[in-house]
């Protein structure tokens, strides 16, 4: 397993942010900028994926990856829910809310993974961006279904919720940029490429600096994070990521895409799902699910998870 990636500036900025927050520095990135960097990264990755799919054309493998991604997003919440109830001792509402996060994906974990894989000479296929977008929302439905079986009073009409979930800003931007990239193709993308390519890694550095600050501050202030759920927040990415790698190699993807599949399955959402849960399950504790997803799973994935899934993918596809 190669941990060279840990010393790339991108990851070091994450470590710097976390260290600053633990030391109680007042360093902070304005919220408007953090949100904008997030919009920029999603647009850039969406465009890039679309341009690549335009170049490669549609294939059966693409379809297989898409279906597998949707299936994983739907199914991964179930074992997570059971573990959260039994081992984590959470009530059905909180267990359902948390489970939804682990079925879904983290855009920035994926982006960081793509950087690391690219640097190792095994970039994932362009259509993995579409898989990313497809995996964002199915788990929300699964998580809500699990929570409601457990008695959560859903006063919100289902249609409304579906709309709000599918039209979450991050999903719309990712899908929209993918489509624009696909329409524009390599030639149409060329004039805007300098902005979306040259700046990409630098923005990722500053964004991960902020994520480090946010993750560490959240960890410090997390009241509801018991030892048991913190442990689950470390186990989920490992198991889900391994499942993702297995599924990816089963459908015959290349090593880079298999690793990306593992990263997607192992990551936990911190944008689309929290927003949906706040709306659909307001009784669930945001302090809990954000602490698990942002303050434990995200740092684990960005530092150790990505090299682990990559190593696994290389072994499995060798």
């Amino acid at each position: 397993m190669s941990f060279d990636a840990l010393f790339s500036p991108v990851i070091l900025f994450f470590v710097l942010g976390a260290a600053a927050a633990f030391a109680r520095s007042d360093l902070s990135v304005p919220e408007a900028i953090a949100k904008s960097m997030s919009l920029y990264l999603m647009t850039a990755i969406g465009l890039k994926g679309g341009v690549e799919v335009n170049a490669s054309g549609f294939t059966m493998q693409m379809l297989a990856a898409a279906l597998a991604g949707v299936a994983l997003s739907f199914l991964l919440p179930l074992p997570a829910f059971i573990a959260l109830r039994r081992f984590g001792k959470l009530d059905a509402i909180n267990a359902g809310a948390v489970a939804a996060h682990y079925g879904s994906v983290s855009v920035v974990t994926f982006v960081t993974g793509v950087e690391v894989l690219g640097a190792r000479g095994m970039p994932p296929a362009g259509y993995m961006v579409a898989v990313l977008a497809l995996m964002e929302t199915p788990s929300i439905i699964a998580g809500l279904w699990l929570a409601r079986r457990g008695g959560a009073g859903g006063k919100q009409p289902a249609g409304d919720l579906l709309r709000e979930t599918l039209l979450n800003g991050s999903v719309v931007l990712l899908v929209g940029s993918f489509v624009i990239g696909f329409i524009a193709g390599k030639q149409g993308f060329a004039p805007i490429a300098p902005f979306f390519e040259a700046g990409f890694r630098g923005v990722l550095c500053l964004f991960l600096l902020d994520m480090g600050l946010i993750a560490a501050r959240r960890l410090r202030e997390a009241r509801s994070l018991t030892g048991r759920v913190a442990l689950l927040a470390l186990i989920f990415p490992i198991l889900n990521g391994a499942i993702g790698v297995a599924v990816g190699s089963a459908i015959g993807l290349d090593a880079g895409s298999v690793a990306a599949f593992g990263i997607l399955a192992g990551s936990a959402s911190y944008i689309a799902v929290p927003a949906a849960m706040r709306l659909a399950l307001p009784q669930a504790d945001p302090g809990l699910y954000l602490a698990m997803s942002l303050a434990v799973t995200f740092p684990f994935n960005v530092t150790l998870g990505i090299p682990f899934f990559t190593w696994l993918a290389v072994r499995v596809t060798a």
Binding site: P274, Q283, P286
Partner: protein, 103 residues
């Protein structure tokens, strides 16, 4: 000097994603005029929070409406069941306004 009339000032601290729902609920009991104000952070029973997060799921906004005693009562009644489940903070105070017809 113009006539000052007495009204009720209702403030509700609500999670940003749920604000739309409070606005709709207030409108359903006739309180259609309001202003939303930003917040930076705070602490309560549920621990501390700040607005520096990417997800925005835990950012909060302050809903402010000035209305008659009667509509205020309807609004409070409508909101009460949500206080616990949605984690709302509700404050009511007295305020004077000119042009009472507008409120």
């Amino acid at each position: 000097m113009m006539q000052l009339v007495s009204r009720r000032r209702i403030e509700v601290l609500v999670d940003a994603p749920l604000a739309r729902r409070i606005v709709a609920m207030a409108a359903s009991v006739g309180v259609t005029r309001y202003t939303l104000m930003p917040t930076l952070g705070g602490a309560g029973e549920g621990g501390a929070w700040t607005d520096d997060q990417i997800s925005g799921a835990q950012a909060k906004v302050m809903y402010l409406a000035v209305t008659t005693q009667q509509k205020a009562e309807s609004l409070i009644e409508a909101l009460t069941p949500l206080l616990e489940s949605h984690g709302l903070i509700l404050m009511i105070s007295d305020v004077n306004v000119v042009r009472g017809g507008k409120f």
